[in-house]
Amino acid sequence: MNQRITFSTPLLISMPLLLGALLTGCETMQKLVSTPKPQGLNTRVYSANESSNTVTVMDGDTYQVLGEIDTLNYGPHDMALSRDGKQLWVTNLANGRVSVIDTDSRKTIASIYTGTRAHVVALTNNNKHAWVANIADNTISIIDTTIYRILGTIPVSKGPMGIAFSRDGKFAYVSTQDKMVNVIDTAAHQVIKQIPVGPNPHFLILGPDGRIWGTNTGSNDIYVIDPNTQEIAGSIEVGPAPQQIAFALKGTAGPNAYVTVTGLNKVVVVNATSPALSIREQIDVGEGPNGIWANAVGTTVYVGHTKSNNVMVIDTGTSQVSATLPVGKKPIRVVASR
């Protein structure tokens, strides 16, 4: 008996809409999909080496060290890479300056004083401004990324430690040493809310789910902030001294949050696909894991180790170390091109 499948006209009309709705539901996955790239040409990985005043450049596809760049300053700590990968912004904790590195020539091309203990830097979503948190001044400096001029300073609460922007760019989140996350209205440059978090809140990052993910280094947990409510939506204990977070896939599972946990010498993998946070696995890494970043497609994470002075390349599919690259002293932050 032949069975024919027929579609009514209303159903045919609604199918593109259904497909659109499904795709919208998969928005988190789309974040990790990139256009095809010629093999071995693109992924550049950078580590900020706080104790050697340099940035190491690595090929993220062939796992080779390509060179080292002098920041011309003291204590490079955090980095932000422009979307086109051409400019690398580096904070220098010791002398309060930001180095601007031209990634093509691998040279520092500008040095800008922002404030005492310039700690972290984040580029606005349109890359027009660099926001720099100055721990000892309790301020955020706003730098024009074209002319390198500071165009404003926003006061925040005590000891700004991390910065991230919401997906739509309307809000900036700044974690501070007084156990808060300051929410800044980016159209007014005003703090509009303070969200209590845990002790020594540190790193902040926008997750593929549109939420803001942060680490409480002092209370061994990570938390997520829902930008719709500006409230903590969840938290989970991951181990002593969690540092930084990256998002990647493990086969069909994910996106997952990969958290460096210094006190365990592990990367703890947290399920980032559901509102309730849960730990999927723990990966043994080297001594003092701190900086972490994923490649654009989410199949590899690069982990910097501040004690063993190297960057480990981890295949997230197998959770195995693919390579270990020697870098400068105390690589505290790692970023990779998109």
């Binding site: 520092t108 040095s111 800008i112 390198y148 165009l151 404003g152 300073t153 440059h189």
Partner: protein, 222 residues
């Protein structure tokens, strides 16, 4: 060597002036390249305070405080904070010919930005009070930062005042000043005034009688 961990000087130039000149010469000779030397190095004074009325204090990066009373010469370095008290004024002369007068209750830090393509730009980070600025002897890059705006000049005379909430008032006596907040830039020309407020673009320049705005600086300049 004057560099201290709290100094704002880029490390590349954190040598004594003598040592840095020798090092630069050696590098240039050894690699056969001649690069533009830095316009200053840590250890070189970048300005002198030459006149003070009332309380005029300099806070060094190592915590030392020095004062100038009356006319004299007090060298100023990168990273120094300069402050006047109530009813006090001061006058500085930068090594490149820029004159800066401080009105009462004024405070700024002497900073710089370095760019490979442009060299150093002198920056004064004004956190309180009012300064009058005049560049002399050709174009001199200078920027005045306030909490909400920056005024960039090359050859001009102007007055800039910052309120406790950061509101910044710029009066241009002569020349053109590139006045900008994070929300936009406004060129301000001779005999006009503009305001910078947090979260807003600077206001359109409005004509103003500049004489009353800069009258306060006449006394300290004599």
């Amino acid at each position: 060597m004057r560099y201290l961990p709290g100094s704002s000087t880029p490390r590349h130039f954190a040598f004594s002036a003598h040592a840095s000149r020798i090092a630069l010469a050696a590098i240039a000779l050894s690699i056969g390249l001649v690069t533009a030397p830095p316009t200053h190095a840590a250890g070189d004074a970048v300005a002198n305070a030459i006149n003070a009325v009332g309380e005029f204090t300099v806070f060094r990066t190592d915590g030392i405080q020095e004062q100038l009373e009356g006319k004299g010469s007090l060298p100023l370095y990168e990273g120094d904070t300069v402050k006047t008290g109530t009813g006090s004024q001061g006058l500085l002369e930068f090594s490149n010919g820029i004159q800066v007068a401080l009105n009462e209750d004024t405070q700024f830090v002497i900073l710089s930005r370095w760019e490979e393509s442009k060299g150093f730009t002198r920056i004064l980070r004004l956190s309180a009070g009012e300064v009058w600025v005049k560049t002399m002897g050709g174009p001199k890059p200078l920027e005045i930062e306030t909490p909400v705006a920056t005024a960039a000049v090359k050859q001009t005379e102007f007055d800039i005042k910052v309120q406790p909430d950061g509101q910044t008032t710029l009066t241009v006596v002569e020349g053109i000043v590139e006045f900008g907040t994070a929300f936009g830039t406004c060129p301000i020309r001779t005999s006009t005034i503009s305001y910078g407020n947090r979260g807003k673009k600077c206001t359109k320049p409005a004509p103003v009688d500049v004489a009353p705005n800069v009258a306060w600086a006449q006394g300290i300049r004599q």
